[in-house]
Each structure stands twice: as structure tokens, then as C-alpha cells.
């Protein structure tokens, strides 16, 4: 388990601002954020490569804030793997054991065991120059894991790999993490990567932890426009409150030329907003219902006619752009898209279910 309390670190004009997170033993945690958000610096602070200005770091209940990197029981895989080019694969993996003066027999056993686990035994005699990206990644991982750390820190471990290798390595990472039951922090800017491995995730932006939670929470209930945008929610609207029912139910808002009924969370209910007040809400593109034709039951609420102006096949779904009283992006299945195309009419009916509309906190 690794826990940070109010970590503060300043370098030049950049600051990591009071980051507090806790990752349980056996949990795979993904720290997401755009480049320059401070993810790598945060990992270096956890490793002890950068001394924090204030705050505390605990590993399995033991405070390690003031300890040297070598005394923290952390396995660290940097962004470009940093395999020592003057050593062979075997020497790279054995490096930590040899530095710690393990007996020759134990070094050989440790290296063989971890090489078998990662399927790289055949690479042991090779030099690192000729390895592929995926092989280098596994060797770097083996070098970090051979010391049996309590926490594994992975800095963009698959960002340099091609799509297929990336998926393959992500599967392996998760398998090994589960096998060794390690608290793992995986830094990435790639959402697909996070979906393939994460038990829990957080989003970091400009050194500030924006939101921590399950990926579903980050996806469905973002707490800021930035998080919504980062989670690729393209439908973010600023609306005016027309009326607010008890406990937030039946709240009517005006956005563009139409009124919408929105379903409010308890948090929203506790934040009383007066009539005429402003709020921001989001709706996921995959939650936008698009039906053929322009006939709809007006009493159904949150339904309106829009024009389908652009579409793009994204593999598993079709991204369509809709222009109407409010402009929206929807992700629909290829089957539904074919249905819409079959009508040879640009007009479609758009339905926004109130329960799918998420109001951002103030």
C-alpha cells in the first residue's frame, strides 16, 4: 500500500499541489493527465528522486518521505525504460541484486525466475541495443520486479509501443501485477490504456489532482469541464436554470433554444441554484439517442429534431455530428447509422434521457 499526504513540490513555476492519494496493495492505479501535467514528477517524488517540499509518503504504513530511493522498496520503470546500454539483458536484470550484494546463486535464481515469469529467458544473453520496444519494456519491468518491491511505479510504460504490442503488454502488466499482488501506479495520457488495466484512476492537470475514482465515475460523473473533456465527453453545455424541484428532481434548464429536464445528483440538490442561475452539464456521446425521422412524442421531454451533418466510422462505432437547437456529438452503432442512412433524410430525432445528463458541481 502506498499513501501520500498533501505532497507539495515546486520546480520553477510548476507546482505539484497538495496531492493526497492512497493505493491499496494489489490495486492497479492509473494516473492520467495531459503531457506537462506533472505525472512523471509525481512518480519521481514517490521514488525519492525528487525531494518533496512538504507532505508525507507512506509505504505499507512506514513513512519513507526522507528515505533515499534505494531504501523505499519501490520498483520504477521510467518512460524510455533506461536500460543500461553497456550491460547485457541478464546484467541489466541482475543489476539491483548485485548492487545489494546478493550471493551469485541467488542472483542467478532471481533473474531466471523473473525472466520466466515475463517470458524473456531467451533474451538473457542478448545486448539491449538490438531488442524491440516490447522486449525492452519487459526487460525494464523484470529489472524493477526482481527486487520484489512493495510498490511498482510505471512511467508511460507502453507509450512508445505500437497498438498491438501495447495491448499485449497491458494484458501482461495486469497479469503480473495480479500475480505479485503489487500496489501499482501506472502513468499515462492514453485512455484506452487506462481502460485495459485500471482498477482505479485519477486525473492530474497542472499539478492539481482533478478527480480520483473508478473509470466509470470519471466517465459518467466528471467533476469539472476539464475531466469531462479529458474523458472525451464532447457534449459540455452551459445552461440557465428555469426551475428547480424538490431535492433537485424535475429541474428545468434552458440551453440554446430549448428547455431540458435534467436529473440531479444529491450533490447538485445540496447546491441550491436559484432561477436564472447558471450550471454546466455534460452528456456522453454514447448516451445520446438518435432515432430516424422527425416524428416524436413531445411529452416525452428532452427530444428534439436535429440534422445529421457529419459522420465518421471509428471502428466500433460511428461518430455523428448533429446540428439542432443544441449541437451535439453522438456515438452510435453501425447498425443504427445504416438505419438513419436508409431514410435518406438528414433530419433525425435526438433524445437526451434526464438520467444521462450529468450536472457538474459548482
Amino acid at each position: 500500500m502506498i499513501r501520500t499526504e498533501e505532497i507539495f513540490f515546486r520546480i520553477g513555476t510548476f507546482q505539484l499541489q497538495r496531492l493526497s492519494i492512497e493505493i491499496a496493495t494489489g490495486q492497479y492505479f492509473v494516473l492520467l493527465g495531459p503531457p506537462g501535467s506533472g505525472k512523471s514528477i509525481f512518480l519521481e517524488c514517490l521514488c525519492g528522486l525528487k525531494k518533496v517540499d512538504s507532505g508525507r509518503i507512506y509505504i505499507d504504513g512506514r513513512e519513507v518521505t526522507a528515505l533515499e530511493p534505494r531504501a523505499r522498496d519501490i520498483g520504477y520503470v521510467p518512460q524510455d525504460y533506461a536500460l543500461f546500454p553497456h550491460l547485457s539483458v541478464e546484467q541489466n536484470i541482475a543489476f539491483g541484486l548485485r548492487v545489494r550484494n546478493h550471493r551469485r546463486k541467488d542472483v542467478t535464481a532471481g533473474v531466471t525466475e523473473i525472466a520466466d515469469l515475463l517470458g524473456i529467458r531467451h533474451l538473457l544473453s542478448r545486448r539491449v541495443d538490438g531488442l524491440s520496444g516490447g522486449e525492452k519494456q519487459r526487460v525494464a519491468l523484470a529489472r524493477a520486479l526482481v527486487l520484489q518491491p512493495k510498490v511498482l511505479l510505471l512511467d508511460e510504460p507502453v507509450s512508445a509501443l505500437d497498438e498491438v504490442t501495447r495491448q499485449d503488454i497491458c494484458v501482461q502488466l495486469l497479469r503480473i501485477q495480479r500475480h505479485l499482488n503489487l500496489a501499482t501506479i501506472h502513468v499515462s495520457h492514453n485512455l484506452e490504456e487506462a481502460f485495459s488495466v485500471a482498477d482505479r484512476a485519477a486525473i492530474l492537470h497542472r499539478g492539481i489532482l482533478q478527480q480520483v475514482g473508478s473509470l466509470d465515475e470519471l466517465l459518467r460523473k466528471p467533476n469539472s469541464e476539464f475531466v469531462a473533456h479529458f474523458m472525451r465527453c464532447e457534449n459540455i453545455f452551459c445552461a440557465e436554470v428555469i426551475s428547480q424541484g424538490d431535492k433537485g428532481s424535475g429541474t428545468q434548464v434552458k440551453v440554446g433554444d430549448i428547455q431540458l429536464q435534467v436529473s440531479s445528483s444529491r450533490r447538485f440538490a445540496s447546491q441550491k441554484r436559484s432561477r436564472g442561475g447558471k450550471l454546466t452539464f455534460t452528456i456522453r456521446p454514447e448516451d445520446v439517442l438518435v432515432c430516424p425521422g422527425s416524428q416524436f412524442d413531445e411529452k416525452g421531454g428532452n427530444a428534439f429534431v436535429a440534422k445529421l451533418v457529419r459522420s465518421r466510422d471509428c471502428g466500433g462505432y460511428v461518430r455523428v455530428e448533429l446540428v439542432g437547437p443544441v449541437n451535439l456529438v453522438a456515438h452510435i452503432t453501425a447498425g443504427r447509422f445504416a438505419e438513419l442512412q436508409g431514410k435518406h433524410q438528414p433530419d433525425v430525432t435526438v433524445v437526451l434521457r434526464p438520467e444521462n445528463i450529468h450536472i457538474l458541481p459548482k
Binding site: 519521481e44 528522486l49 530511493p69 534505494r70 546500454p85 553497456h86 546484467q91 548492487v99 527486487l147
Partner: protein, 285 residues
């Protein structure tokens, strides 16, 4: 095409460019033209010397005990100088490469100064320091460490004139070693010392060796400052470069050229030897 070893980089990069089509051939020929012109020019100069000297001159060089002594002085002083220069260069190169401190840019510039100023200045400055200043006289007279007109002075003079090459090369070599390697070594259990010895130093080795070769070469051919600071006393402070000057000044041009050829031969063996030993040995933990 042969293999080109890029010298002085953190890793030994082997570049082997395939030649495809006539454009590539023209390009390769153009680059090799300059290689050939330079090598032919240098070899022509050496061959001219070979044809100019006679049998007697060679016999004189091979049998003269003073020339043998000068050769010995040249050899041991330059290797001691190179060793001391590297002793300074490795920590200095690392410090200048890795640490940010007030006055770093000025310190960096001062390191380069001896490369820029004429070698003669080094001899003059040393002579003034040790004969005209209180600290200099204190070292010579009170501590009893004599440099002026002494063999020890040869090493000091060579060090002042040549150490900058080693320091500059070491700094560049450490600049080329990514700090990420050291960071990883620290997380794997190394101390700062350990990460320096096990990772940074082996990775910077080629650059450091290149600096050592430059330092040795500069020290081996040094002449002006030695004449001023230690003179050229037969059998005492005479080195090959000063012997050449003495011989030609008394009209023994053939002997001077024969010594010059000896100097070139020793230099060739030494530079090739250092390169082979220092540049290709496998580093092991």
C-alpha cells in the same frame, strides 16, 4: 563501405551506411576525397622526412644516451600528466555536467582558457608564479617542492597546457549520459557513488578516453612552455620536442628529423594502443 566508430559518444555507435546508386557513390566519393587528401598530405610530410635523413642520423638517434633519456622523459612525464589530468577531469567533468551552481558558466569558461591561450603563456605564467610570487616561492623554498628547471616542472607545465582537453571531453561525455540511467540505478539500490561508478563512468568511458588521448598528444608535443619553465638540460629536463629544437639549432637537421620520426612513431603506437585498450574493452559489473 567500412564501419565508422563514432568516438566520444556515450555508446559506441556503429554506422554502416549502404551505398545505393550513383548519387550515393558520388556523395561517398566526395567525403572520402577529403579523407584521402588529408592522409596523403600528412604521409607525404613524413615520407619527405624519411628521405631526408641518412643512416648516420638514425644510428645517432638509436645510440645516443641523451636522446634515449629524452624519449624516456617524454614518455613517463606525458603518461603521468595524462593520469593526473584524468584524475581531475572525471570529477570536474561530472560536476560541470550535472550540478548547477553559481558561477558555473564562468567556471566552464575558465576550464577552456588553457586551450585558447598560446602554450608559451603557460610556461611564462608558471615561471612568474614560482619565481616572483610569495606562494610560489613558499612552495619551492619552504615546502621544498621544486618545479622550475626540474623534471617535476615538465609534468606541471604539460598539465597546465593540456588538462583542459581531458576536462572538456569528460564533461561532454557525461552530458551525453542521460540522467535517467543514474535515477534508475538509485532506485535499484545504488548510492550516488555507486550509480556514478557502475553507470555514468562506464557510459562516459569512450569520451573520457578520447580526452585522455588529446591530453597525451598535446603534452607529448609540447615545446614552448617547457623551454621557458624547465629549460632543456641534457640528461635532466630534456624531452623529445626540445631535443629536436636543440639539434636543429646547432645545424643537425638530419638528427632533428630522425628524432621527429621517432616522436611520430611513438605517438602513433601510443594513440592506437590507448584507443584499442580504452575504447573497446567490455565493461563488466
Amino acid at each position: 563501405m567500412g564501419r565508422v566508430y563514432v568516438y566520444g559518444s556515450a555508446m559506441k555507435a556503429v554506422v554502416n551506411i549502404p551505398v545505393r546508386g550513383w548519387r550515393d557513390r558520388v556523395f561517398a566519393a566526395a567525403t572520402f576525397f577529403f579523407v584521402c587528401v588529408f592522409i596523403i598530405f600528412v604521409l607525404t610530410l613524413i615520407i619527405t622526412d624519411v628521405f631526408y635523413i641518412d643512416k648516420e642520423a638514425v644510428i645517432t638517434v638509436l645510440t645516443s644516451k641523451f636522446i634515449r633519456h629524452a624519449l624516456w622523459m617524454s614518455t613517463w612525464t606525458t603518461f603521468v600528466t595524462t593520469f593526473i589530468a584524468l584524475l581531475f577531469a572525471v570529477p570536474m567533468g561530472y560536476a560541470l555536467s550535472r550540478f548547477r551552481f553559481p558561477g558555473r558558466i564562468v567556471a566552464d569558461a575558465i576550464v577552456d582558457l588553457p586551450i585558447v591561450f598560446p602554450p608559451l603563456v603557460a610556461g611564462l605564467t608558471l615561471l612568474v608564479f614560482f619565481s616572483q610570487t610569495t606562494p610560489g616561492r613558499w612552495i619551492q623554498e619552504d615546502l621544498g617542492i621544486e618545479f622550475v628547471f626540474q623534471p617535476k616542472g615538465i609534468v606541471l607545465c604539460q598539465f597546465v597546457a593540456a588538462a583542459s582537453f581531458a576536462i572538456r571531453s569528460a564533461k561532454t561525455a557525461f552530458d551525453d549520459v542521460s540522467q535517467r540511467y543514474e535515477n534508475v540505478a538509485l532506485t535499484l539500490g545504488c548510492t550516488q557513488w555507486g550509480s556514478f561508478c557502475r553507470v555514468s563512468l562506464p557510459l562516459a568511458r569512450n569520451g573520457i578516453v578520447a580526452g585522455g588521448i588529446l591530453t597525451w598528444a598535446r603534452a607529448f608535443g609540447l615545446f614552448g612552455p617547457l623551454m621557458i619553465f624547465v629549460g632543456s638540460f641534457r640528461g635532466r629536463t630534456e624531452v623529445l620536442s626540445t631535443t629536436i629544437f636543440l639539434e636543429q639549432s646547432i645545424g643537425n637537421l638530419e638528427v632533428a628529423l630522425a628524432i621527429a620520426l621517432l616522436l611520430i612513431f611513438v605517438a602513433l603506437i601510443a594513440v592506437t594502443g590507448i584507443r584499442l585498450v580504452g575504447g573497446s574493452a567490455q565493461v563488466k559489473l
